[in-house]
Symmetry: C2
Subunit: 413 residues, 2 copies
Amino acid sequence: MASGQRGPRRRDVLVGAAGIGLGAAAAIGVGSAVRAAAGEPTFGTSRVVDTSPHQPGIGTAGAHGVFIAVDLAESVDRDRLIRLLRLLTDDALRLMAGQAPIGDQEPEMAEVPANLAITFGFGPRVVELADPAAMPEWLGPLPSFSIDQLEDRWSDGDLLMLVAGDDPLSVAHAQRMLLKDVRAFSTIRWQQTGFRNARGALKEGTTQRNLFGQIDGTANPQPGTAEFDRVVWTGAAHPSTGRGGAVPEWLVGGTSLVLRRIHMNLETWDEVDRPGREASVGRRLDTGAPLTGSAEHDEPDFEARTPQGFTVINPVSHMRRSRPDDPTQRIFRQTYNYDHPVAGVGGMGAEVSDSGLLFASYQANPATQFVPIQQRLADGDLLNTWTVPVGSAVFAIPPAAPPGGFIGEQLFQ
Amino acid sequence: MASGQRGPRRRDVLVGAAGIGLGAAAAIGVGSAVRAAAGEPTFGTSRVVDTSPHQPGIGTAGAHGVFIAVDLAESVDRDRLIRLLRLLTDDALRLMAGQAPIGDQEPEMAEVPANLAITFGFGPRVVELADPAAMPEWLGPLPSFSIDQLEDRWSDGDLLMLVAGDDPLSVAHAQRMLLKDVRAFSTIRWQQTGFRNARGALKEGTTQRNLFGQIDGTANPQPGTAEFDRVVWTGAAHPSTGRGGAVPEWLVGGTSLVLRRIHMNLETWDEVDRPGREASVGRRLDTGAPLTGSAEHDEPDFEARTPQGFTVINPVSHMRRSRPDDPTQRIFRQTYNYDHPVAGVGGMGAEVSDSGLLFASYQANPATQFVPIQQRLADGDLLNTWTVPVGSAVFAIPPAAPPGGFIGEQLFQ
């Protein structure tokens, strides 16, 4: 039956090949923005637009996402790491283009990318292997916060792969292809799967709700704006990127990802009535408007007072505490919900699901942008009553691979 | 803050109310087919069409589905069971109509039903409590098959709730509302979550692939046809429904659900090349055509032979073994994929995901329609090399609730 086999079957063939990155890039026409044909009634063949010099998947979120962190094997040295990164780059480019990676045994499953976007991130170990002098000062675990109840099984990791797209089968296939790539080099540390509203379920531009029913992410900078660029991309003209150390040159055009796994207790949240919930957040639950306004994007008035003399917006509300007075303390959040079944429970008050947020935050410098916000929330935020951070990881997100090159190649110069 | 509270907060208010089923049905206009407004650019507000006298969700599968089985508490008697079923019926009707159930603390999340469909099923315990004389002969565990490696945690149960729809947030919200209903009455036995291609990812009518990359379900009867009706609905003019006992009158217009959780070993499947895979199934992987044909729906020729004298379609292939010679042995399958992350594994050959199929099969009589097929596959099917049934459950699926009544009310007459 071997005569009918298509192409190389063993991925080792590929791992040993030189220059595959270049070949793959040429083959799939990377660098041009590719869209599904006009009039196509489905979005299955839609591909993400080219986002060079940045990686794809930042600022546009597929409906389904899985964050995967692996720990590199002891035996992985600089050369093996480069081989792995070449392999991953090649496979990711093909998958995003709707083409099967070499050695894909289910190539038809690659034909429905549905806006598949694959984003890679590096933990400290990758930088150490490549160029220890190029370590960003902020790359490593965050300072610990009083609210944290972190578990190793949801924290840290050497290499991040974020696979996101609008079709869960496409995401599952891409996830599997990448896991096949990495397993000779590493151990899976964690995989965290999440979802947002389905593509097409909400009008474009609608801010989504989380499992608490809150409109979640109103204050986000809008992708495509200068403010977004300043907040997110390393090396852009944002005052905060220069703080806490020089910008590592290899990261220009990249960013950082802080992934916090935040457990949300839906049972105790249920015990709170709507006014109590709205006071905790500082916003109306129906429209997302600040309690001092009438529309979602109205500016809150933190000085407005009730007839009794209290501020309308509670000073310990989530909105008040998360909003910085320092305009450089901004982040771009791109969150996914998780909601995993629990079995064997009954009775009132038992948690019937393991639910929460995969709170993914992108910013040029987590030390100066993310940490001050998180510190304020840890010091006081009414929402902390019902939420607990159970996982935390920080990754450097390199810029897009250079044409014909591999992801993070700038770090290996 | 209680003055701002909307509507009853405690669901106990509802549990004690009489005639709520009628009120809810009147309020939401059940009985009329409801669709999103024409020209609506999104499908979030789309509602399932009325399927009376049958329950919704059978023949049309949302992209996301969760099967939930609960075990009733010892204290649940006939009267409490009726109260529970009234409550569930009312909440399900509202949720499917895009309205919040009474006491919903996140009513905005109900506004995006996205074709939400909720289907209920009864295990033997419900029938015993209602009317032991009305027990279908087939309601209970299937005969054991040699291939089974069943686990209690994925098997059996007293009451089934299947929540399916095209938006994962909508499904999560409905799931939670129903779990809140049942928890004072029962313990969650299992929850099994699965996915299909996203709505809009594939052209209408395309047969989907499973995680083995196979086009899966080609031979299914098409919903809306007389054959579908004969295969699925109890009491329709299908010869098989009369076998193995009289048709219980309360089930006329209902059906049965067999849910088999089938683990698929993607690692050992990977070791098989394409000709080997195609021989195992009896179909081409690219088009799904029988190995003797050229298009997916071509009739297979089981007599066709190779020049060497072997049948082109292996007699132990999945297609050959699953296809009955007796035309009454047909089922309607509506499967979901599952793909759950595994952590802490590495190296070649380790299973990096817990993957498989939630194989949901609807048929008027499982004893005469499902069991003979499953027995043949257990006796010999090349696909068994890579698949293992790890869960099994059978439920009676009552017809739609009578107007103003509750689900299964026909059983309680």
